[in-house]
């Protein structure tokens, strides 16, 4: 039997529903600590090394990496991230709809692209670098959008005619939409 996660494995191997629920609660409670641990491992740094950078004991790091959500202070997070040369961002969200989230991220992307555009005018080399990035970004974004669009339309079986006529007025696009709505 193969599993993609430990949760999946527990659900399959343990019949006791209360045990399963307790395990899920424990995972949720330690989610942040597990993320810290994974970030440190990804950089190949030991607990002692990060303790040295944070000016604390190895025991404190061990405790932090095994803490529940109540045991981790924001200050600890900032210091831990800084020791790994990472920046800490904290986000607050209302219970927004997925479409609003997509719009939010689109505006955020626009904001960051504008920052890059401003930066580009400082120097020719930066300008060409940013221009190259813009082209790559456009290509990659269209690829992602296409994959998502394919996922959306995969259940709609399009009947392709033997003879396809393309009109310059874009009527084939209207036809596509009509077929997709059927």
């Amino acid at each position: 039997m193969a599993y993609n996660s430990v949760s999946e494995m527990v659900k399959n191997l343990v019949e006791d529903k209360e045990f399963q629920a307790e395990f899920e609660r424990e995972l949720a409670n330690k989610k942040l600590a597990k993320t810290l641990f994974a970030m440190r491992c990804a950089q190949g740094i030991t607990q002692s090394e990060i303790a040295l950078r944070m000016n604390c004991t190895q025991g404190r790091i061990s405790k932090l990496e095994n803490s529940g959500i109540d045991g981790i202070r924001v200050g600890d997070l900032v210091l831990y991230a800084k020791a790994l040369n990472l920046q800490t961002s904290i986000g607050f969200e209302t219970d927004i709809k997925t479409v609003d989230r997509v719009k939010y991220h689109a505006f955020q992307i626009k904001k960051h692209l504008d920052q890059l555009a401003d930066l580009a005018h400082q120097d020719d080399q930066i300008f060409y670098g940013v221009l190259k990035f813009y082209k790559e970004y456009l290509f990659n974004t269209l690829e992602l959008f296409k994959k998502s669009f394919d996922k959306l339309t995969k259940k709609v079986k399009m009947e392709r005619p033997v003879l396809e006529i393309c009109t310059p007025t874009g009527e084939e696009n209207n036809l596509f939409i009509k077929n997709a709505n059927k």
Binding site: A2, K34, G44
Partner: protein, 117 residues
């Protein structure tokens, strides 16, 4: 993406152990989850290091129950992370009393695994 596979004898042993030592199994599974999640972000399994991870022979590692309070029953969860196919093999679970037999099972499992490769 790493995935988990169990040995032919793992399931029955795990179910028995989970019934006899509920809290220790919970704590050990939690540590295993931490290990497994970290594995997804490293280039080599050897980079995942923590107090609850104990290297054994032939690349097998034992994960213990540390992190839980009280006086726990010493538990060892034996696994092998195969880098080539990104599979974590669950070999067996046991305590101090079954340690010799568990390690023998690990040796035998690894011998069969290497033979099948």
């Amino acid at each position: 993406m790493w995935r988990i596979e169990e040995s032919s004898f793992f399931g029955s042993k795990f179910k028995r152990y989970q019934k006899d030592h509920r809290s220790e199994t919970l704590a050990t599974l939690n540590n295993f989850d931490t290990y497994f999640k970290a594995l997804q972000s490293v280039s080599k399994p050897v980079l995942v290091r923590a107090g609850f991870i104990h290297p054994e022979k032939n690349g097998v590692i034992a994960i213990d129950e540390s992190g839980m309070g009280g006086k726990p029953h010493k538990t060892r969860f034996y696994i092998y992370a195969s880098e080539d196919d990104q599979v974590v093999h669950l070999i067996t679970i046991g305590d101090k009393n079954s340690q010799n037999q568990d390690l023998a099972d690990c040796r035998s499992f690894m011998k069969n695994l290497k033979r099948s490769e």
